[in-house]
Each structure stands twice: as structure tokens, then as C-alpha cells.
Symmetry: C2
Subunit: 295 residues, 2 copies
Amino acid sequence: MIAIDWGTSSVRAWRLGPEGVAAEARAAPLGIMAVPDGDFAEAFTGLVGDWLAEGEGRALLSGMIGSRQGWREAPYLPCPADPALLAQQLLAVPFDGAEIRIVPGLVGADASGVPEVMRGEETQLLGLAHAIGGTGTVCLPGTHSKWATLKEGAIVGSTTHMTGEVFAALRSHTILGRLMSGPAGGGPAFADGVLRSGQPGGLLHHAFGARTLVLLDRMASDQAASYLSGLLIGHEVRSATEGLPAGAAVQLVGAAELCTHYGEALALLGFVAHGPEGDWALAGLRRIGEAIGWL
Amino acid sequence: MIAIDWGTSSVRAWRLGPEGVAAEARAAPLGIMAVPDGDFAEAFTGLVGDWLAEGEGRALLSGMIGSRQGWREAPYLPCPADPALLAQQLLAVPFDGAEIRIVPGLVGADASGVPEVMRGEETQLLGLAHAIGGTGTVCLPGTHSKWATLKEGAIVGSTTHMTGEVFAALRSHTILGRLMSGPAGGGPAFADGVLRSGQPGGLLHHAFGARTLVLLDRMASDQAASYLSGLLIGHEVRSATEGLPAGAAVQLVGAAELCTHYGEALALLGFVAHGPEGDWALAGLRRIGEAIGWL
């Protein structure tokens, strides 16, 4: 079978043998927003047409390709969801020359009943679930960080935190950017920000400190971005780990540098970060492929 | 004496009789950033030159006119500060034809030792302090909301919350704006946002709900701005009132519509909002004028 992780900005494809071994892999900067004229059939043929010609007849796709802006919208399935449920609800895409199925996204609600959605992460999470024994807390840091709870191989629920996007908006579009130079990184200022998140006053007040500390020569301007990053990540981690016992393990999945920073924040706040190595989108596509008998 | 409240975007001037009665008042859109070539002496003469010619010889100025970008920088004084202290530390500005004094801003620290500054608000607060008996909690909502504690006529401390500016940045520079139409106002969506601020998950998670609630048809897109506004104001008010007993009074000073929304949030969270009527910058300038014997 062919496995494809098709996101907003890029696409990756694998040709899998019967045991799920990736015989070939390729990637392209052809995310769903970059497909000319939204002609996904054409883009799909351009990406894996040679594999089809060589006899592959089945393709399993996950990610934003199943969104309203993608090839065909695959309605969200309710949580909890495991590979067997997703396998039953794959969306078939009519295509001359191959059987194509899209993995649906998931919809759930947080503890207060406010909706949560994911699309693409469900496949990564199911790939990871298998590797960590089926149960655990997972954090996928990024523009919109997702925290998910896995139980006995199923995705029970998730919460989204706008941490990366709020950082960018505060830095580029508020007064904070004026006294901020250089990139955000780790180090003492990042740790100061993480620890600040637990003090009284709340995020809207804490953020202003990234200005006043520089204004009154208590922090160098080239440390302010790291401080603000630590502050926001600290607020995210504190909120997302409410209810977890001290010392609990959190699985971090994402870009290496970002996971390092989240690992540092988790350690400062009394949790144990794990960074399991693997390509979890591919692993999840394999698991769903197995569930429908394609592997 | 002449009293002048000279801010970033506008300036207001009063001609006060010996009892502090405002015989004349005028205003101009000539904030410190709008003064041509930074020639503040020229702008001052343009504003009140006729009063000087008629015999006024003393002018007391407050606001951003005393900042590094203003006429002359008046160094911040430490909190706590009362009118007598400020009166001792006024900054004299050399000017041919009048005695000019600028009220300094204040510097303090929040409960965790992070610096806080104000410039202009100290004069409003001292004017208000007199009117409310010298002691109380004051909120000045806005782009950067300030909460101040007054005790026996002195400003004890303050905290700043970036609520208004964060709202603008989230609305205009994050994905939240895409599913948001129309202005922010009061009403049920605002109240929902205020109450949401007390649920688990934290602000970075709660903000994302302004998207998912619309995405899943749980909220109309023309209500999303009010919801986000309520959410941010709710977070601010909860954090700023930590330590206040339930039912405590909060004095609101600022634009009428914004104070109405803050009053609604305070009521929802169990506090009593007061909106004392008055021109507190003028009242504060009067009090300092009295302390230096100009009135």
C-alpha cells in the first residue's frame, strides 16, 4: 500500500511492503494550500503515479487533505477513537486507478464541554499509542500545541493551546516587541519565564513584565524573547498538566528544538519528559492499514 | 495656575482660579507624539500663551509629557506615593515666561518583585483617592489596564494587564480573526467568556474555543469577538482580584462603554463595581497644586 501524510504545507509518501516496511519514501512542499487549482487528483498522480504504474493499487491518506480545503472532507469522528473505529470510518475518494481512503479527524470536548478538533494528529497519536503501551499523556508542541490523553490504545480526548501563535502575535504585534531583540531560546531567561508562570497575576499581567524588566534594566533585551517564550510555555504546561500527579510522564512529539524547550519546562514544573523517536504519522497509517487488511 | 494633562495622543488644559475652580478649559489632539519637531515649548505657548499673556505664571503638567519622549524626563518615584511626596519631587522645566513643573511617574513592583511603572495614572489616582476616602481598589481598563491599591491617600502599588492590546493582536493577527465578524460588545457571549475564564485549561487553551465554538456551530461568528473580549477581561479580573474578599468594591475609571463591560465582569465574578464620576486628572493636578501652594 501507499501511505501519505498530507498536511497544510507539505506532503510525505511511503511505499509499504506487505509487512509495512517502507521500501521507498518521498516528500514534497506540496501541502494542500500549494496544490495548483486544488487539483488533488493531478497532484496525487504527480506524487505517486510511478508507484501506481508499477502495481500499487491502494493509498491511505491522513492530515489536512481530509479537510474542507482538501481533496474531500472527511467528517470528524467523536472521541474516544482507536484504530479499529477509524478503519471503519475511512472516507473513500473516487479515483480511476487506485482505491483511496482518507483518515477522518476527531472531535471531542474539553472538561468543560468546549469543542476540540484534530486532523492529522489522530494518526500520529495512534502510531505513538502502540509504541508506548497504549496509555499516556502526549504533548505535540507547536503553533497550536495539542495535549492528548491515550488509554488502552484509544485517543480519549485532547486540548489545544495557542502558545506558538500567541507568542508570534505578542512579539510582532504588541509593544513587547519594541524592547525585544534576537531569537527565543532556552537558558536562564527561558527558565525564569517558566517559573514566573506560577506566580500571582495571570498571563495578561506576566506578559507585561517582558517589557518592564527590560525597561528597568533587570533583563537584557536579547533575553526578552526567551523569557516570553518560557512564560507562555510555562502557562501552557501548568494548565495542561492540572490533574496529573507530580512526577508523571509526558510524551513529547514534534520538532527537536521545541521538544527540548518543552522538556525543560516540564522538568522545571516537576514532570518527566520523554521524547520517543519515530515517525508517528507513518506508524499510525501502518496501524490503520493493518486494521483494514491492506498490510 | 494652569493644569495640563498631556498624554500620548491628546492634551487638555485648564485655567484654575485660587479655589481650584476651572475658569476655562481646552483640549487639542496634540499628544506628545504629534508635537511638530518635538518643540514642546512652542506647543505649550500655542496651547496656553494667551493665558500667560493675561497673567498666569505657573503651570503643572502630568502624563507622558514627562517621559523620555516628552518635554523633559521626570524620573520615576518609588511607591508608596502621596500628593505630598509627588509635590516635593516635581521636575522644573526651564521656560521663559512661566514656572513649569512636571509630575513624575511612579515605579513599584508586583507581589513577586517584577517592576511596575505608571505615568499619568498617578495623578488620576491621587485625584480619585481624595474622592473615595483615601483607600480602595481601582481599575483603569484599557489597552494596558492598570489596577492600583490606594491606602490612606497614597498609591501603594499597581499591576498592569495587557488585555486591550492582546485582544487586538489575537483578533487581527491570529487564526481567531478568521471566524470572527462584527465588533466586541456585551451580552450573553461576553458573559459566557467571562465565566469561561474560571474553567480549567488556562487562557492559551480558552482562547482557541473562540474558534472551535464557531467551527462547530455552537456560537455565531458575530458573537465571537464579544466572547473573546469577555474571556480576556474575565482572566484579568480574576487575577487582579486575587486576595480581595468576595463582594469587595472596585472603582472603575475610564471610558464609559469599557467600564460598563468591566462592571458586568466584576458583577459576574462576585465583586461590586463603582464608577465614580469626575475628571480625575484635573482633580489630581489640583491636589498637587494645593500641596505646593499654587492653589
